[in-house]
């Protein structure tokens, strides 16, 4: 039996024989995703048991827009997928009376985008969600999933870092609050334990007059990952500017807060630029060179700071 690689190797064509693919019975075609078990628990407890079970490595399935692609690409080989979308507690998308926001793990991005109250209070959060993928994918992809996948370019990370969000993690051992600043430990690595399920993002109630924004540099308009990204919040009453950047280091980075005080916009922009330049550790990859990232991210940050500090602008 000649393997596909041998078939396309010109050196092996000499003396080769024609191979007919084995006849596959209709209905018995090999599956593109391979074989695994699928369970859809209705409680966290059931989900926890399945994840901790002994039938081989398990993976949590929410939107599946990263997981199924990784399985198809053979970068991940779980034996069981635990679908959390029917667990009611994970579908919460609540803004409380003070404006604090809870985003459950099973909430698709489009739901966040379509909630007017969230757009009013945290426009940067909605801008980040809107920048992700396509409309179809945003009907499945989740914010929690974006964080757990922990790409250095994760689009929900910078704004959630700037907003001081926490990720709640549940396991049979109990519940844990993980400040986002401690979640990302490496490229596609989080501090979640294998038996932990990320259940929700909690964003604290906004200070009065909180402004927020997100800018993403892409190669093209439409569906693309971030070449570099920047998010920030600013509260004029306290004069504190918080910035976070993405796709310029192994993990998304939260920068030290900047006290704006009575400084001019130009001084603040310069401070922010220097902070970004000092913190970023970009690489060259298929999307951009490290030099390009070093050149563009400070510009993005300057624009973001200008927007956030603009007098009389919308939040």
């Amino acid at each position: 039996m000649i393997s596909p690689t041998e078939l396309i190797d010109a050196r092996s064509l000499a003396g080769s024989r024609v191979v007919t693919p084995p006849r596959v019975e209709r209905g018995k075609e090999p599956l593109v995703l391979g074989c695994f078990d699928y369970q859809r628990p209705s409680t966290l407890l059931e989900a926890g048991r399945l994840l901790a079970g002994n039938d081989g490595p398990a993976a949590v399935l929410a939107g599946g827009t990263d997981l199924l692609v990784d399985i198809r690409g053979r970068r991940h080989d779980p034996r069981i997928l635990v679908d959390i979308k029917r667990i009611d507690a994970l579908r919460r998308l609540d803004v409380d009376s003070a404006g604090a926001l809870t985003i459950g793990a099973a909430v698709p991005l489009n739901e966040i985008i379509e909630r007017a109250a969230i757009r009013r209070t945290f426009p940067g959060l909605v801008q980040a969600a809107e920048s992700i993928a396509t409309y179809q994918l945003r009907n499945r992809a989740t914010a929690v999933g974006n964080l757990c996948n922990a790409s250095p370019a994760a689009d929900m990370a910078p704004i959630l870092l700037a907003l001081g969000a926490d990720l709640m993690a549940w396991s049979p051992r109990g519940e844990r609050t993980i400040p986002l600043s401690s979640l990302f430990v490496g490229v596609k690595k989080t501090s979640l334990a294998p038996d932990e399920i990320a259940t929700e993002i909690r964003i604290p109630a906004p200070e009065p007059g909180l402004r927020s924004g997100f800018l993403k540099q892409q190669r093209l308009r439409g569906h693309d990952l971030a070449v570099v990204s920047a998010a920030g919040t600013y509260v004029s009453s306290t004069g504190v500017l918080r910035l976070a950047v993405g796709s310029c280091a192994p993990t998304p980075l939260l920068l030290e807060p900047i006290e704006v005080g009575r400084s001019s916009k130009a001084v603040v922009e310069e401070k922010a630029e220097r902070a970004v330049q000092a913190a970023m550790r970009p690489i060259s990859d298929t999307r951009a060179s490290a030099d390009y990232r070093r050149a563009v991210l400070p510009v993005l940050v300057k624009r973001l700071v200008a927007d956030l500090l603009a007098e009389g602008g919308a939040p």
Partner: protein
């Protein structure tokens, strides 16, 4: 209503095409990036290649086969034909389903809304203008 027993690893796209023989829905990339496999899952446009058939248990699934009635093309389909929005036709079912999802949730969408709704569907043939015109034609008021 369809009832079936399926392997866990079977995608909704495979289920529709290989088990139900509804081959209107196409596979373009298999990783959610091209939109050729767009269907409506509980009335929401999704890429069927990234949905497990098992996940669709208890949901409604609408495919392009449901557009025409008694062999008559829908208004949306006719608009695609009339504006030249169909060349090779491979992206068309996905385009139709994205447009159908849009028009249902927003019967009179703005041009920006239309672009955002259709941006997840790639076309190598037409350059998109004719497709956007077709969708605009079907917006309430039928503007070009």
């Amino acid at each position: 209503m369809e009832t079936a027993s399926v392997p866990s690893g079977l995608t909704l796209l495979e289920f529709l095409r290989d088990r139900l023989h509804l081959t209107g829905t196409k596979e373009g990339c298999g990783i959610g990036e091209c939109g050729a496999c767009t269907v409506l899952l509980d009335e929401k446009p999704v890429t069927a290649c990234l949905v497990l058939a098992a996940e669709a248990d208890g949901c409604t699934v609408e495919t392009v086969e449901g557009e025409a009635t008694d062999g008559q093309l829908s208004v949306l389909q006719r608009a695609f034909v009339e504006t030249g929005a169909v060349q090779c036709g491979f992206c068309t079912p996905g385009m139709i389903m994205s447009a159908r999802g849009l028009l249902r949730r927003s019967p009179n969408p703005s041009d920006d809304e239309i672009v955002e709704a259709m941006a997840g569907n790639l076309c190598r043939c037409t350059g998109y203008e004719a497709i956007l015109t077709a969708v605009r034609l079907c917006a309430k008021g039928g503007r070009r």
